[in-house]
Subunit: 167 residues, 2 copies
Amino acid sequence: MVEDFVASFGHTALGTRLKRSGMAMQAVAQKWLQAQGCELPSAQMPVLAALHFHGAQSTGELAQMLVIAQPGVSRMIDQMEKGGWVVSSATDADRRVRRITLSDRGTALAARAARELWPVIDAAVAELCADLDGCFIDQIAALEARLSAGVMQDLLDRKAEERGATQ
Amino acid sequence: MVEDFVASFGHTALGTRLKRSGMAMQAVAQKWLQAQGCELPSAQMPVLAALHFHGAQSTGELAQMLVIAQPGVSRMIDQMEKGGWVVSSATDADRRVRRITLSDRGTALAARAARELWPVIDAAVAELCADLDGCFIDQIAALEARLSAGVMQDLLDRKAEERGATQ
DNA sequence: AGCAGAAACATAACAAGATATATATCAAGT
DNA sequence: ACTTGATATATATCTTGTTATGTTTCTGCT
């Protein structure tokens, strides 16, 4: 039995592999975040971070910043507003525009994430990708192997511990 | 305005970027395949290729080979059977098992793809990823830049032309 | 002022992955 | 032979992206 046909399919299926690896990384990160008591769905994290670092934005601006289609942002903001993470309102100058701000709850989570969650993920992923040698396709293969071996979970835990120990 | 916040977010959003790049590559490939008269949805292409190179498989075997969840295979096979690309039937030895085979139409498409479609994609992607220098995150950034510049479309066209010219 | 076209967002439907769970069948122990 | 547990697949629902299209509001021209 072929274990991973897609990986054996050369460059032809590279798109599939990149997508798969990306989803795997997101899944690991989300699981870890949940374990840290972070209730926000992982797909909404970039919105939170964008609003944290760059202040209030419109729907269209967020779509451009996050490079996702505008209807996706529309729906995501609805969900985040229901979850109490953001507040939105029509602007006075142009009443078509919906201005989105972090709520108190969202601000608090973003501050905490900036302090102790994102740096851990950043350090873990940086180390996950360190020493990926060879040509690009080999690097992807190495990354896939590390992900399926559970290396990223271990790194997240270790990095969190290290930060906790040194602070 | 920040153009691509995710890309500016360091390693933290690498998963999102990988996923995004993979989807972009798949989209370009699918568009090109359609232009070549290939009617099969791109997500079903790996199934076609797996059956072409490794013969009849069960639902579970396909899930393992393609590293996707079994319900996804179930649904995809339903669609492909409706589209006339595959035929499936319960096996005699174990009537729980659904054995999936390429139909005549599926066999014909796979043969054509193996001859003149997959090699083009392979060559194009190989060149797309050639000379990606630097550390992994820089390589991803370079890949993203090439994708958004439309380099992959151009390569597909050029590779197809080259193959056509030399054969 | 009023109308045409553009722009911002919302809504609907689709795609392709996921998980959770139900159903049907098989295998093994008594 | 029957019951119990495992296995293969199907079904239902969720997630998060997409495109297509509808609605509201603005802008600019006459």
